[in-house]
């Protein structure tokens, strides 16, 4: 009984980290799917979101819903600005050039935060207060449940938005063929800006939930979850929205189970090992679409 209990608890632990990964991965996948670039700075937008929430809630003392709204707006605006300044001039450059620029943006954001807020971690209590639930002998913290629900809602809204709305079809058109989309009267620049705004807003939400879960701010807080979420997005099939969700949850659970039952020391190696194996068996990720190569 205790063994099963333990397994269930570890699965819940996996869900807990996995749902955060999934939420971040949604942003990655969104930007990759439409703008066809790996936005390496995505993790750092999460960090900006976390600090923004801190500034609004702890320093300015605004009411919580206002703080959350403002944080999302700040990140969305930041996303658009970054895209305009750093990525837009490179739209026709090789994808590697864009990747390097994204790395530059990532370093830039981290160091600005370092200069403003210093390296010492800042404690910041959760602004979302949800009581934890106890089923049998198992604790599930409130914030875990909130994160999971928010991730599912975000995924559902995104799927609906992309498949059912005009702006969504514009995005899909830009994703398929920028030139053709422009000829059909779609404003490519506006569409890509909107993609970045949505992606960054998702990062803001992830940042808020992350900080409510872990309650400590530092300039590099987005780096590691950013990488893990990137792995999750690729695992699920980058560009696919349900794939990002699945990849995130699967990654979280694998991580948790390998730490619990194999070795805490080799957990990272196992996580990346699984990624390699999945990609070798199914090179486009779990739910990714394989495109036929054209000559």
């Amino acid at each position: 009984m205790s063994l099963i209990n333990n397994l269930v608890e570890q699965l819940i632990n996996g869900l807990r980290t996995g749902s955060i990964y999934a939420l971040i991965a949604l942003g990655y996948t969104m930007v990759y799917g439409i703008a066809k670039m790996i936005n390496f700075a995505h993790g750092d937008i999460i960090m900006v979101g976390a600090y923004a929430l801190y500034v609004f809630a702890a320093l300015l003392g605004l009411p919580v819903p206002v703080c959350i709204l403002l944080t999302i707006i700040v990140c969305a605006v930041l996303g658009i600005t970054v895209e305009r300044i750093a990525y837009k001039p490179l739209r026709n450059a090789p994808s590697l050039a864009v990747l390097i620029t994204a790395i530059g943006v990532s370093y830039f954001l981290q160091n600005v935060a370092l200069i403003i807020f210093k390296a010492t971690p800042i404690p910041f209590g959760s602004v979302i207060k949800v009581p934890s639930i106890k089923i049998g002998g198992i604790h599930i913290s409130g914030i875990t449940i909130v994160t999971l629900i928010v991730t599912v809602i975000a995924m559902a809204i995104l799927t609906w938005f992309i498949n059912k709305t005009r702006a969504g079809s514009a995005m899909r058109a830009v994703s398929e063929d920028k030139g053709a989309a422009a000829l059909m009267g779609i404003n490519v620049n506006k569409t890509i800006s909107m993609t970045f705004a949505i992606g960054s807003a998702l990062a803001a939400v992830a940042g808020i939930l992350f900080i409510c879960q872990y309650e400590s701010l530092s300039p590099t807080l987005g780096a590691l979850p950013g990488i893990k979420a990137f792995v999750a997005a690729v695992l699920g099939g980058i560009g696919s929205i349900p794939g990002a969700m699945l990849g995130g949850i699967v990654l979280g659970i694998i991580e948790s189970l390998s730490k619990a039952y194999i070795s805490t020391q080799l957990a990272d190696a196992i996580v990346f090992g699984v990624l390699v194996v999945v990609l070798l068996v199914k090179p486009s990720g779990l739910l990714g679409k394989m495109k036929a190569e054209k000559v």
Partner: protein, 323 residues
């Protein structure tokens, strides 16, 4: 045709000698402070790393984010070898270099074979994964010293042995630039430009991909051995993906597929943080801004216009010569 090649070879040799002469003059002429002396060898190491990665990213056209992993394998293999040996330092280092290079090449082969199926962003993420796995495993193993690091490595590759290191740097550049210019190199470039077409004309894509991986890994491993014997202590945490990205940035700033550019970028990017040391807090910020600005400039209209103008001028002068 022949004459042209000869001329460029001569110029390259002169360049190499001049660069060597300048560095030697700076070292022994007392022009440099200790800080500048201590970055000479790191410059050489980074040149080796950048040139070897240039083969993969620039010529094979595959983005890899795990170059630091191969470097660490070479570094550990080389350092363990020289720690075990009891020979004159230079002989030890030579053996260490060979062992480090070969072990790294073997691992590149093992890792390179399965990932041949992948391309582009997927390859990038898998190589990043392998880099992390290597780091994790080195941390876990006992004989590598784990998190405490492997210390007590003789610091043989210091600036006093610049000549020795420089020979290997030249060797790296020579092998890779000749490879690129050879038949095999053309095949590798063909794989980059259009692998379906390359396959159609009978180029064995997987063979050339593996070859590029192995050669690149070999030189990265050697660079790792020099690193180990320059710093004297190895810790798995130093070979994370940030290090891989640092090398990648050198290749990209050098203009992908441009070996000379990669060399210059490697030297500048090694020296830059030291020159900016007085800027303390703002150093990394400046580094980030320079990075973004360089990428934007490299791909800007301004630059294209400049190149066009230059080409136009050239065309005019050709016309004049014709007349």
């Amino acid at each position: 045709m022949n004459k042209k090649i000869n001329k460029s070879v001569i110029i390259n040799i002169i360049m190499a000698i001049v660069a060597y002469g300048i560095v030697m003059a700076l070292i022994y002429g007392g022009f440099l402070g200790r800080q500048a002396m201590s970055i000479i060898i790191p410059c050489c190491i980074n040149v080796m790393l950048a040139v070897s990665l240039c083969l993969l990213v620039g010529f094979l056209g595959e983005l890899t984010l795990g170059h630091a992993g191969f470097m660490s394998i070479g570094a550990y293999a080389g350092a363990l070898t020289t720690n075990a040996l009891n020979l004159p330092p230079m002989v030890e280092l030579l053996i260490g270099l060979l062992v480090g290079g070969i072990v790294a090449a073997v691992f590149s082969l093992i890792i390179g074979l399965p990932v041949l199926r992948l391309k582009g962003d997927y390859l990038a993420i898998v190589t990043l994964g392998f880099g992390e796995i290597i780091k994790s495993v080195i941390n876990f193993l006992g004989f590598t010293g784990g998190a405490k690091g492997l210390s007590g490595i003789g610091t043989y590759s210091n600036y006093k042995n610049f000549t020795f290191v420089y020979i290997f740097v030249l060797l790296t550049i020579l092998v890779i630039s000749n490879l690129v210019r050879s038949r095999h190199g053309r095949a590798i470039c063909a794989v980059r430009d259009n692998y379906i077409a390359a396959e159609a004309v009978g180029i064995k894509v997987s063979k050339f991909k593996t070859m590029a991986f192995v050669i690149s890994g070999f030189f990265a491993g050697m660079a790792g051995v020099f690193y180990a014997h320059n710093v004297g202590i190895l810790k798995p945490g130093n070979f994370d993906y940030n290090k891989s990205i640092e090398i990648l940035v050198m290749v990209v700033l050098g203009g992908m597929g441009n070996i000379k550019g990669a060399i210059v970028a490697a030297v500048i990017l090694t020296a830059l943080p030291e020159v900016l040391r007085s800027a303390a807090d703002f150093r990394m910020l400046l580094y980030a801004i320079v990075l973004i600005a360089m990428m934007l400039f490299n791909n800007s209209k301004f630059r294209t216009v400049m190149i066009e103008k230059r080409n136009l001028k050239k065309a005019m002068s050709i016309q004049k010569e014709g007349e």
